[in-house]
């Protein structure tokens, strides 16, 4: 078992952002986390990666209790994440961004001479090789998303948390990104991803978890979740107009 989320709750003052959420991610799986805006997906990511302390519940990673560990310690164990609102190291080059990823985390390259070839390899895979000398702040949205992914990969994770790496990408870019994620998964990395693009979720994920108002309302294979009446109601609105539902289905 790669990751177990056990009865996780998170309360911000009056707002119950997560309420008793439990599910698990098996090794080498791709699991999709979906739900409407404000469902608590990113909050859950922040709890998993250690940026938030949960108000209740536990995170077990590779059989180890990590609930109290700081984010950098979880990263050293092999958990790497991307940020939905991209957070590059702005005044460093694309290459230096990835070199930094390679020097810390689980990879721990001792110096630039070791880290640079590793980073260049990752830039090649993520299609950023040509932009290696550009400052990260000068990148466009698509490249920034790729950089998030590249930097996370450089840490040599075994669990990758991807927070909407495909939003804002055009059709071709999305296709490329799907291929890339499959490739990453094939290399043995477990992936938990948040995504709004249904096509991506449906084609990639073996398992889907649906959050709504901070609660898990469905979990299972793509088929079962997509046919779940509650999920359909939430995504399409509770509506008597069966015609609408059937056209979408």
């Amino acid at each position: 078992m790669m990751l177990q989320i056990q009865n996780v709750s998170k309360r911000f003052r009056g707002l119950q952002a997560l309420n008793d959420v439990s599910f698990s991610v098996e090794e080498k799986q791709i699991v999709g986390l979906i739900g409407p805006n404000g469902a608590g997906k990113t909050t859950l990511f922040n709890v998993i990666s250690g940026f938030y302390q949960p108000s209740g519940g536990e995170i077990v990673y590779k059989g180890k209790q990590v609930t109290a560990l700081a984010p950098f310690r979880r990263c050293a164990l092999g958990m790497a994440r991307t940020f939905q609102i991209m957070k590059p190291l702005p005044y460093m080059s694309v290459l230096d961004n990835v070199i930094a990823g390679s020097m810390f985390g689980r990879n721990r390259s001792p110096n630039v001479t070791v880290a640079a070839p590793h980073a260049l390899g990752i830039l090649e895979v993520t299609g950023l090789l040509k932009k290696q000398n550009v400052l990260a702040k000068e990148l466009g949205t698509a490249d920034r998303k790729h950089l998030e992914l590249a930097r996370a990969l450089a840490a040599k994770p075994d669990l990758l948390l991807l927070d909407e790496v495909m939003s804002g990408l055009n059709h071709t870019e999305t296709e490329e990104c799907l291929d890339l994620i499959r490739q990453i998964n094939k290399s043995g990395i477990t992936i938990l991803l948040i995504e709004h693009i249904m096509k991506a979720v449906v084609t990639l994920c073996e398992k889907i978890v649906v959050l709504h108002h901070g609660e898990k309302i469905a979990e299972g294979s793509v088929q079962s979740v997509m046919n779940d009446q509650t999920v359909i109601d939430i995504y399409l609105g509770k509506d008597d107009d069966k015609a609408l539902t059937s056209t979408v289905n």
Binding site: S109, N111, T113
Partner: protein
Amino acid sequence: MRRLRLFPVELGLLVILLIVPLFISAPYILHVFIMLFYVAMLAVAWNILGGLTGQFSLGHAAFMAIGAYASTLLMIKFGVTPWIGMIVGAILAGVIAAIIFYPCFVLRGPYFALATIAFAETFRNLFTNWETVGKAQGILLPMVERSWRNFHFSGKLPYYYIGLGMLLVIYGSFAILERSRLGYAFKCVREDEDTSNAIGINVVKYKLLAAFLSAAFTAVAGTYYAQYVRYIEPDLMLGGYSIEIVLPAIIGGIGTVGGPLLGAFILMPISEYLRVMLGNVIPGSHMIAYAILLILIIRVKPLGLVGWLNSLKWYRQLSGAKLGVADTVKK
């Protein structure tokens, strides 16, 4: 490749500085160079915390004074050679920096800077009222035998070469640090603390390390100052001196390797010239010049001269500077 391409500038400068005393023996000119080395040392040391790690300290004059006082007191009270005093002062300043700044590191940006000003003021007041360290009169270093052991020489020439050597060591350390794993950690912390945390960097640990190193190198320069000027006083910790440490870095380029050095080489001659030419007519005119330069740089080229050069594509290609690790690896 990058190193080979950039080194000529620094090597050329070093060679020139090495032979300058052969042609110029006027004590005043040597004095200007000595003070230039001293200011450059401070600016490079400040750059570790303020530039590389992005923690803008305006209290570094206090670390300089700690270095100056520590070595001086050790020599006067216990007869310890200033060379050892220099190391003790460096460690002391580093530890004090780490302890004092630790609670301040939760503060970001200007709030951290304000806290460092308060810290320096506190230390100045402490030293002004502390019997053992000579109170407000400060300490006049005793006339001891002129020898290496006592860090005391006749004439300015030995100080010139020692200053140059120390600057070389501090500058070299910074250049190595900047490309090392430690340097990357510092830079990541400066760029984005959340991202640093996410990629496995212990932000607090590296801030403390940066504070330690920066304060330690600053204290080393402080010992040099004390031994050269041979008079130290609590007012060395005044805010104005802290700012004079920061200015070369801002004008040359915060966080860059060569920036503080370049800044010092630009500022010192200007300030000395103005002091000599206008010192009697308009006292403090060098401060006005500093202010004008500072405002100009911040308005026009906020990255500083070296930072601005690095942002130019043609310059990057020419020098392979800053972003050029790739060249080294691919070939």
